[in-house]
């Protein structure tokens, strides 16, 4: 009896050990979508990014080839410590292979460090800071959709060249705000403009009136909004209220998503310039993807560029997996493989990945339509200019990424 029992226990222990250890070279993949699920960035990333990830799984066709792919998600609440804790647990306990999305630059930088330490993969779509592929680059991170350099050289340069040669910044007081202010200042100065001042506000501010009054008093021609999501929406709405736009000062919404325009309404947002790398109504490919996405969203929202980037980055990852034929569970190896393959999907078109992890694709300068120009819900942008991929992102010879100095 006793011997039987110990044999049973030994057997169970062996079975458990086999179950938990992920063997190299299987066809099991786990994707973790880590973003803001409930706060000021939830509409531009949030549950929509999870839907985009699931669409990428389906469209990859890997499940038909015998792969088992799981998508899990969590809320990092825009706090680096919470984000890193979740990511650590995902990698150590849940055996997650890829961390996807991760908006909020401060969280992204912390998670990128962790991904390198654990030899995991970060496919970042939501975060803005260009540091991810410059001084903080790692062999485990690919930065997909956009970065602060793109925004600065899109909206920043365009407004300066159009006569807005003095700038005042309203800057969100965290990594993203600092990065976009720095990159935009460089772009403005390069285009012959001057920065006359700025003020830092806490992340997630409801009332901007104090800051807007300071911007108004600066007499700068352009007020650069170095913030995002709900902060940008509130700042724009209240700027209209305080007569800033009617007083001749122009607002530069440096980072603005289609979800923000939807929240503001065209009456308030009309005429704003913004830079994005994706808009649902660009071509047949984007329209088809967006329609399918919209049907799955509970509030029938169109995808933002962040959500589209999650789809595109995972699709590329699955292509790399498919070409290897098995999951090596080796982050740096997978990322290296992904960098050797050109990117190509219906959402962002053709592109490539630089050695520093920066994905190159074109960016677009848009202007928000007036209510009269809009034909219906979500018809918000008209295309002003296309910025070619090599101008939209930091040139490789200017990148400060340590990986490049070999």
């Amino acid at each position: 009896m006793n011997r039987k029992l110990s044999a049973l226990m030994l057997g169970t222990a062996l079975a458990l050990a086999a179950g938990t250890g992920a063997f190299a070279g299987d066809k099991v993949v786990k994707i973790g979508v880590l973003n803001d699920m409930s706060g000021l960035y939830a509409d531009l990333a949030g549950p929509g990014s999870v839907i985009a990830a699931q669409m990428a799984v389906e469209d990859s066709g890997l499940t038909k080839k015998g792969w088992k792919i799981d998508v899990i998600s969590a809320d990092h609440q825009n706090k680096p410590d919470i984000g890193v804790n979740i990511a650590r647990q995902w990698i150590d306990v849940d055996k997650v292979d890829v961390l996807a999305d991760v908006p909020t630059s401060s969280v992204a930088l912390a998670v990128s460090n962790l991904a390198q330490e654990k030899n995991s993969i970060l496919l970042d779509s939501g975060a803005g800071t260009s540091d991810l592929t410059n001084k903080a680059c790692t062999p485990n991170t690919i930065h997909w959709t956009y970065d602060t350099y793109t925004l600065a050289h899109g909206t920043g340069t365009a407004l300066t060249k159009a006569g807005g040669n003095t700038w005042f910044f309203l800057t969100a007081d965290y990594a993203f705000g600092a990065a976009i202010e720095r990159d935009t200042t460089a772009a403005v100065t390069a285009a012959g403009g001057k920065v006359v001042g700025g003020v830092k506000h806490p992340l997630n501010t409801a009332d901007f009136s104090s800051f807007l009054l300071q911007a108004q008093a600066s007499k700068a021609k352009v007020i650069g909004l170095a913030n995002a999501g709900g902060d940008t929406v509130n700042a724009i709405k209240q700027a209209a209220e305080f007569g800033i736009t009617s007083g001749g000062q122009k607002l530069a919404s440096l980072l603005m998503f289609v979800s923000d325009v939807h929240a503001l309404g065209l009456q308030t947002a009309k005429g704003l310039n913004l830079t994005e790398t994706f808009y649902w109504d660009l071509n047949d490919g984007t329209r088809a993807f967006s329609k399918r996405f919209q049907d799955r969203m509970k509030n029938h929202a169109m995808p933002t560029m962040v959500q589209a980037g999650v789809y595109s980055s995972l699709l590329h990852y699955f292509k790399a997996l498919d070409s290897l034929g098995e999951n090596p569970h080796d982050g740096a190896k997978m990322v290296a493989k992904m960098k050797t393959m050109p990117t190509d999907d219906p959402v962002f078109g053709k592109g490539s990945i630089e050695p520093n992890g920066r994905v190159l694709h074109p960016a677009y300068l848009f202007e928000v339509k007036s209510p009269a120009e809009s034909k219906g819900p979500w018809d918000y942008y008209k295309l002003v200019a296309t910025i070619p991929a090599n101008e939209a992102f930091t040139p490789l010879d200017k990148s400060t990424c340590p990986l490049l100095k070999k």
């Binding site: 009332d207 305080f242 929202a301």
Partner: protein, 287 residues
């Protein structure tokens, strides 16, 4: 110097919201002895109510100012009748947990249907535009908010401290059995008081709808500060909460000018200082 005047005025505007919300909290705490953590969620419901009235029924801002507080107030009274009344006489902690749970549920439901970045609500046409005061451009709507909320605060104070109805209310909290002996329906008075406090929150929600986005988390972001206001002013003190509300708005406005990075912590620093020096709050009486 001009900029300073402007910041003072802006602080006063924010103070109006603090005052209206902390007044409602003070009324509820004073009369029901409940720390109402659902206050922020009900404030948000007031704003959403205004949005639905406009976009669903075509009823404009002025109707919303009346209908939203009544509708949300009734919702509050239902909450009181069905849930809160069972907590009478129990430790504060139970009320705190229940109302906090209610807040999370309400916010979660709204967020599920409307997302997080919110819905636009335009300033009513009669109050659009602004005037140049010399030192700043004052949007007319903001001026309206200050004046209107001051009037409402004073009216509420008068109702509770200076009328017969208010006297019954105060007596009922001191000694409910004695007041009941005089033939007054104490449970009904408590329900109405809760409804009044919630109505004030919903009214603040309607007032803020044109300024801020109508967002599911608009109350959650605000309520923590408002609790600090109530603690500084003294729990349960009506006039104290009104004055502290306006004063802290001004302090916060000045911080945004002199040291903006600290603007969302200054209220809590003040709270700590006040609690160290005078634990009952600035106007609270020791019990």
């Amino acid at each position: 110097m001009q900029a300073l005047y402007a910041q003072l005025l802006v602080g006063l505007i924010n103070g109006s919201f603090y005052a209206l919300l902390s007044l409602g909290l003070a009324v509820i705490f004073g009369m029901l002895n409940i720390i109402n953590f659902a206050h922020g969620a009900l404030y948000m419901m007031g704003a959403f109510c205004a949005y639905f009235l406009l976009n669903g029924l075509g009823l404009n801002y002025w109707y919303a100012l009346v209908i939203a507080p009544v509708a949300v107030g009734i919702f509050g009274m239902v909450l009181e009748r069905t849930l809160l009344k069972w907590l009478a006489g129990l430790d504060h902690l139970y009320g705190l947990l229940l109302t906090f749970g209610i807040a999370l549920i309400i916010q979660g439901v709204f967020q599920n249907y409307f997302g997080s970045s919110g819905l636009p609500y335009a300033i009513p046409p009669q109050l659009q535009g602004g005037m140049n005061l010399g030192f700043m451009f004052l949007p007319i709507y903001r001026g309206w908010v200050v004046v209107f909320s001051l009037v409402v605060c004073l009216a509420t104070w008068y109702l509770i401290e200076r009328t017969r109805l208010g006297a019954y209310l105060r007596a009922a909290t001191e000694n409910p059995n004695l007041v009941r002996a005089f033939g007054i329906n104490v449970p009904r008075m408590i329900t109405l008081t809760y409804g009044l406090g919630i109505g004030l929150a919903a009214l603040a929600g309607v007032l803020s709808a044109p300024i801020n986005q109508v967002r599911p988390l608009m109350g959650a972001d605000l309520i923590i500060v408002v609790f600090a206001v109530v603690v500084i002013g003294g729990m349960g003190s009506i006039m104290g909460s009104v004055i502290t509300g306006f004063a802290l708005g001004v302090v916060e406005g000045l911080t945004k000018y002199f040291y903006p990075e600290a603007s969302n912590t200054v209220v809590f620093v003040l709270m700590v200082l006040v609690l160290l020096v005078k634990p009952t709050g600035l106007t609270g009486r020791a019990t």
